[in-house]
Symmetry: C2
Subunit: 562 residues, 2 copies
C-alpha cells in the first residue's frame, strides 16, 4: 500500500462543519477529505491577529498584524473589501474615472507621458512607499504598467515593474472538463486571500462570458484574459475560422466588461513555426499552438501581427494593457533559449514599440522551462530587445522530472528570474501538467510564489522588504511563538505544524519546540550565553578588541592545538 494519507502539511488541521461524511464518528481532524466544497472562511480564520485597514485619503488597504508587544506590522494587502449586499465590490475608482471622461486615450501611459500623476499612480505610490512622481516616470518610460481598465472601477490599482515589489499572478478558469462559475469566483477570492497580485481567467468552457463578468465584479486585482480562447469557442473549435474581425469583436466586448490586460500571441509569426520542428515538446502555449495552426492552414502571417494596430486602438480606448504572449516559449529543459523562442522575443520587442506608439501599456511574457544557468540570459535579452518593458514569466521550471511538485521546481526559477529583474511571476501549481488546479492547489501555488517574489525583493534590496523577516526572526529568537506564526505567510499552517508536536497552550510560551526539546534548543542556550557574557561584562569588550585587532583575533587569541 502507498503511505497512509494524512492532513496536508499546508492545510490547517482544525475543521469546521464538514459538508460530507459522518463528522461525529471521529475527532475533527479525521473529517473526510474534501476538495473545493465549503464556503470561503473568514479572513480572521487564516490571519488570527490581523485587521484590515484603509490608510489615508486614498484609503490604501493594508493588513495590520498585531504583535504581542502591542506594536503592529502592516502587510501589503491584496484581499480587497467585502462584497456589497447585492454582490460585487464597491466602485472604488468610479469618481477618478468619471473625472477623466472625454479624454480620447485614457491610458495611464498617456497621462504619464503628459506629466499627469493620476489617482492610480498616487495610490500605487502610497501602497509601495514610493514618490508619486517616481511612479509616473516609470510608467512614462514604459518600465512599469498600472493595469487598470476604465471599466473596472472595483480595482485597487497596483504596479508591475522591476523597480516595484515583485508581483505574482494566479491563473484560474474552468475548462470543458470541470468547474463551476461560483467556484471560479471563490478561487479568485481565495487567490487574493493568499496574496495574488493579479489573476488571469483562463476559462475555456461553458459560460465563459458570465464567469468573467462575475470574476470582474468581485475582483480588487487586475484581471487578465487570453481572448483567443473565447474566439475559438465562438468558432466551435475550428482554428481555421479564426479572424481579425472576430478577435476585435471579442476584445471590444471583454474590454467593456473591464478586463485589465490581454495576452495576445502576436509574436507567433508564420516564419517561426518551422523553428520548433526539432523541439522535444514543440509549442506548449495553448494560444501559440492555435495561432501556429492558423498560420500553417492559411499559409499566411498571424492575423494578430498584421492586425496589431487595430488591436491597439481598441485597447487604448479602455486602457487595457498588453501582455505580449510568448507562444513559442520552451516546454522542457531541452528546448530552452532556442532560436524559436528568441526570434519571437525580438518580435515582441518590435510590438512593444508599436503599442507604445498608441499609448497602450505593455508587459512581455516569458518562459516556461529553463535550467538555472540559462535563466539570466532570458531577462537580459528581454530588457534589451523589449526596451525595459516589464517582464512577466511563467516560473520558469528548472527541471522536468517532478510532476506533482512543479510549484517547487518553478518557484526556484521564479525567485532567480525575479531577482534579475522580472516584474511579475505567473504561478504554477502542483497540478501543472496533470490537471485543473482546485482551491488547495491554488493556495500551494500562491504561497510558493509569495516566497519566490519576496526572496527576489530581498535580493534586489527593495526598501522595507527585510522588515518582515527581521520582525519574524526576532519573534522566533525570543520564543514569541504567536508572533512568529502571525507574521508568517500562512499563520495557521505554521501554528498547526507546531501543535502537531506540542499541542498544549503552554507550549506557545515555552522556550523550546518538539524538534530539539528543552535541553538542546540553541536559541535558549544562546540567550543564556548572552546573559553570561553580560554578567562577565566581557562580550562587548571582546567584540571591541576583535574589531580593534582588524578582525584577526582568530589568530591572536588562538590556543595551540594539541
Amino acid at each position: 500500500m502507498p503511505d497512509s494519507p494524512r492532513l496536508a502539511s499546508t492545510r490547517p488541521v482544525s475543521t469546521g462543519p464538514a459538508s460530507t461524511g459522518p463528522a461525529s464518528t471521529g475527532p475533527a481532524s479525521t473529517a473526510p477529505a474534501t476538495t473545493d466544497d465549503g464556503p470561503l472562511p473568514a479572513l480572521a480564520d487564516h490571519f488570527p491577529a490581523s485587521t484590515k485597514r484603509e490608510i489615508g485619503d486614498l484609503r490604501v488597504p493594508v493588513r495590520e498584524v498585531l504583535l504581542t508587544d502591542g506594536t503592529t506590522y502592516q502587510a501589503y494587502d491584496t484581499t480587497g473589501p467585502d462584497a456589497l449586499p447585492g454582490g460585487g465590490l464597491p466602485l472604488r475608482r468610479a469618481a477618478w474615472i468619471a473625472e477623466r471622461k472625454g479624454d480620447a486615450t485614457p491610458t495611464q501611459l498617456w497621462y504619464a507621458r503628459r506629466g499627469i500623476v493620476t489617482p492610480e499612480m498616487h495610490f500605487v505610490a502610497a501602497r509601495e512607499a514610493l514618490e508619486p512622481e517616481f511612479v509616473r516616470s516609470e510608467v512614462a518610460r514604459g518600465r512599469a504598467i498600472i493595469p487598470a481598465n476604465v471599466c473596472h472601477a472595483e480595482l485597487e490599482p497596483m504596479a508591475i515593474g522591476r523597480n516595484f515589489l515583485v508581483k505574482i499572478n494566479a491563473n484560474i478558469g474552468n475548462s470543458a472538463i470541470r468547474s463551476e462559475m461560483s467556484e471560479e469566483v471563490d478561487k479568485l477570492r481565495w487567490a487574493v486571500r493568499w496574496g495574488a497580485d493579479t489573476v488571469m481567467d483562463l476559462s475555456t468552457g461553458r459560460d465563459i462570458r458570465e464567469t468573467r463578468e462575475a470574476i470582474l465584479r468581485h475582483s480588487p486585482v487586475p484581471i487578465g484574459t487570453v481572448p483567443i480562447y473565447e474566439c475559438l469557442e465562438r468558432v466551435n473549435g475550428k482554428v481555421e475560422d479564426l479572424s481579425l474581425a472576430l478577435f476585435l469583436d471579442v476584445i471590444e466586448e471583454q474590454a467593456r466588461q473591464g478586463v485589465d490586460y490581454f495576452t495576445v500571441h502576436a509574436g507567433v509569426r508564420l516564419a517561426y513555426v518551422p523553428l520548433t520542428k526539432d523541439r522535444i515538446t514543440g509549442i506548449v502555449s495553448r494560444g501559440g499552438s492555435i495561432l501556429a495552426r492558423w498560420c500553417l492552414h492559411h499559409h499566411a502571417e498571424n492575423f494578430l501581427y498584421t492586425g496589431f494596430d487595430a488591436i491597439c486602438q481598441v485597447m487604448a480606448k479602455y486602457d487595457v494593457s498588453f501582455s505580449l504572449g510568448d507562444g513559442l516559449r520552451p516546454g522542457c529543459i531541452a528546448d530552452a533559449n532556442d532560436a524559436a523562442q528568441f526570434a519571437e522575443l525580438r518580435t515582441l520587442g518590435e510590438l512593444t514599440q508599436r503599442a507604445w506608439a498608441h499609448d497602450v501599456q505593455v508587459m512581455v511574457e516569458g518562459p516556461g522551462h529553463v535550467p538555472l544557468h540559462k535563466i539570466k540570459e532570458n531577462v537580459d535579452l528581454q530588457m534589451e530587445l523589449c526596451h525595459e518593458a516589464p517582464f512577466y514569466t511563467l516560473g520558469p521550471l528548472v527541471t522536468d522530472i517532478a510532476p506533482g511538485y512543479d510549484h517547487i521546481t518553478s518557484a526556484i526559477g521564479a525567485a532567480i528570474i525575479g531577482w534579475h529583474g522580472t516584474a511579475m511571476l505567473c504561478y504554477v501549481t502542483p497540478k501543472e501538467h496533470l490537471g485543473l488546479p482546485d482551491r488547495h492547489d491554488v493556495k500551494d501555488g500562491v504561497i510558493a510564489y509569495k516566497i519566490a517574489a519576496h526572496a527576489a525583493d530581498l535580493a534586489k534590496g527593495h526598501p522595507g522588504a527585510q522588515l518582515r523577516d527581521d520582525l519574524l526572526s526576532k519573534a522566533r529568537f525570543s520564543f514569541r511563538w504567536q508572533d512568529q506564526f502571525n507574521l508568517a505567510l500562512d499563520p495557521t499552517t505554521a501554528r498547526d505544524l507546531h501543535d502537531e508536536g506540542l499541542p498544549a497552550p503552554a507550549a506557545k510560551t515555552a522556550h523550546f519546540c518538539s524538534m530539539c526539546g528543552p535541553h538542546f534548543c540553541s536559541m535558549r542556550i544562546t540567550q543564556d550565553v548572552r546573559e553570561m557574557a553580560a554578567a562577565q561584562d566581557g562580550m562587548a569588550e571582546m567584540s571591541e578588541r576583535f574589531k580593534a585587532g582588524g578582525g584577526e583575533l582568530y589568530v591572536a587569541a588562538g590556543v595551540a592545538g594539541g
Copy 2:
C-alpha cells in the same frame, strides 16, 4: 472556519488498511488521517514500473524504470537491499574491509594519496559513470570524500564532491519530546526510499545508542552524527561538564558502531562568540550554542579546537570523515555573511588542512539563512579558504517569512548553492523551526531537495543528468501518461493528481488532460501542426531557409503590420 482539510497533494490518495479509525464507515480516501503509523509500503507501491537491479561484478544498485515502448531508464538508487531475516542489511563491504586489515590508516584518503583505487572508489565510479582513476584523484586532492567507516560494512559507497552528482542529506532522530526507536529506522528507510544520499541521526533523547545501532545496521547510506549531543546526555545536560576526554570516549564508541561522519564544531572559538552579540538570532546551531556556552563558562578555548589532533587520530583509525560544523551559521536573513560566520569559516579552512595531515577525509558545513544575492559568496569563499574540500550546506533559506514552507524557501537556496559548487545539500522539512518532522515531512523535504540537486546537476552540465528530463518530456509530448508518471521523482503522486480530474483508465491514453480539455491542448494541436507541416513538406524546407538566411527570417519574411 479554516479551509477544509483534504488529502495532501503530495500524498497518494489510495490507502491500504488503516491502523486506526473505522475504515468501514466511508470510502478508502476518507480514512482517518494518520502521521507515522503503518508499515513501510513496498517499493512497487511507490514506483509501479520499477525493478531494482545490481549491475556488474560490483553489484552497483540501480532502479530500472520500464517504459511502455519496452526501453528502460536506470535511476541512481539509494534504497538499499532488503533486510536479512534476522534484521540488518547484508555486509556488502565485509570482504573489501577484511583485505585491508592491518593498514594503520585505512582511510579512503590515505589509499587515494598512495595511488590505490579501492573497491569503494570503483563502486562510486560505476555508480556515476566516471573513471575510477578520476574518483581516486578527486579523493586524493581532498575535493571529494567517500564517507565509509570500516565498521559500516552494510554501506553502498557514494561520493560527495563538486565533480560528482549533487547529493542530499536527510536528518532524522528522536528528541526528548517524542519519537520511538523503530520509528527512526522506518524514517531512515523512508528517507532513502525517496532518494536521501546520506542520513544524519540527530537523536538527543532516550536510547540514543540503541537507536543509532539499529539505524546503522539498516543503512545502505553513510550515517552522520553530532557526537556532542551524546556527550551532553552523558553529563545530564550540564554543558560546563563537557570535556575532551569524554568527547574522545564517545567518538571512539560511535566510530566502532560504524558512524561514517561526525559533525564537529571545532571552529566555534572563544574569540568569535562576542561577534554574535549584535545578531538578531544569535547562535542557532545546537552544537555551536553548546560550545559557545562551554567557552564562556570556562573562559577557555573550545576543547574541540585545542584537542583537534587527538580527535583526528580516533577518526583516522575507522575512516570516519569530518563534517566540520558551522556552529556560527546565520539563523536569519539579517545575520547572513557576517563577521562571526566568516571568522569561523576561516578556522574551518585551517582545520581542514590539519585533518588532511592525519589522512582524515573532510567536508565543511555551511549556512543556513542567506538572501539570494549573498549565496555565491559563501561558495566562493569556502572553496578558497577550505582548499576545495566539499561544501555541505543547510538550505540555505532565502527568506524567514514562511514557517511551514521552509522546504520550499530552502530548496530555492539549495538549488543555487548546488549550482555554484556545493557538493551536498542538507534538507529542510516543512516542520523546520516548528517541530520534529514525521514521515510525511521527511518525504516532502527529500523530494524538494531531489529537485534542487537535480536542477544543480543540469546547470553544471553533469553528463547524463538531462536524459531523465528529456525522456519524461518526450513521454509528456506524446501523451504516454504512464511513462510520464513513472519517470517522475514521485510517480504515484503525479498519477493521483492527474486522476483527481480524470480518473477513468481511458484517460491514461487520452491526448489531453483536465487542465485544458480536448479543444485546447497545445501538445495535441502541435502534433497536428507537425502533421500539417509534414504534409505540406514545408517545415523542413522553411527551417533550412531560416538558417541559410542567418536566422534573420523574422525580418525577411515579415508582413507589414497594419
